[in-house]
Symmetry: C2
Subunit: 103 residues, 2 copies
C-alpha cells in the first residue's frame, strides 16, 4: 500500500476557524472517496519546533488509488474553497507500506 | 494518540545507499523504543511533484511517548551517524488521532 503524507504551512492571515473549516471539508472529501483506505488530518500540535502548520496522512492501495484521491473533483473543490487561499508552502511524500495498516 | 509526521529534503550529495542505510537504522531504532506504537519510513516514491525526499510517520500514545521517542539516545545516534550529514531541510507535525490506528 501507499502512505501519502503532506505538510502545509499557512499564510499569516489564516485563522483557527479557517483551519477547522478546512479539516471538516477534508474529512468529508475523504469519506466520499472509496479509494482512500484511511485518512487523518489536523493542525500541528507543536510539541516540537517546526514551521509546519497542518498535516495530512492518507492510505491508498496503489498509484491508481492515489490518483483517484488527488485528482478527485471533490479534492479540487477543497483547494478552491479553502487551501488555495491558505497555503504558503506544501510538501508531500508517498512511501510504500505493508498491508495491515489501519488509519 | 499522536501521529508524528516528518518530511526530509536531502543534501545534493546523498546517495540511494545512504538512504537505505538510514532506513535500516531508523527501523532498528524504532524497534527498540517500546513507546513507539507504530513506525513507517521511506524514500519519497515521487508519484507527484514535491521537493521532499523522505518521510517518517510514527504513532505514540501521548506527549510522554513522543518525548521517549524523540529524546531517545538511539534517536540521537541515528542523527549523529546518518541524518545530520544528510538533511538539508526537515519539517514535522504532530496531530491528534483516535485510538485504533495500527501503523
Amino acid at each position: 500500500m501507499i502512505l501519502h503524507v503532506a505538510l502545509f504551512r499557512w499564510q499569516p492571515d489564516v485563522t483557527d476557524e479557517d483551519v477547522e473549516r478546512l479539516a471538516v471539508a477534508l474529512e468529508a472529501m475523504a469519506a466520499g472517496i472509496p479509494e482512500i483506505r484511511g485518512y487523518r488530518c489536523g493542525a500541528n500540535l507543536r510539541l516540537r519546533p517546526s514551521p509546519a502548520d497542518f498535516a495530512v496522512v492518507a492510505l491508498v492501495d496503489d498509484e491508481a488509488g492515489l490518483s483517484a484521491y488527488l485528482d478527485a473533483p471533490s479534492h479540487a473543490q477543497v483547494y478552491a474553497d479553502h487551501l488555495t487561499a491558505m497555503v504558503a508552502d506544501r510538501q508531500a511524500s508517498q512511501i510504500t507500506v505493508p498491508d495491515g495498516i489501519t488509519l
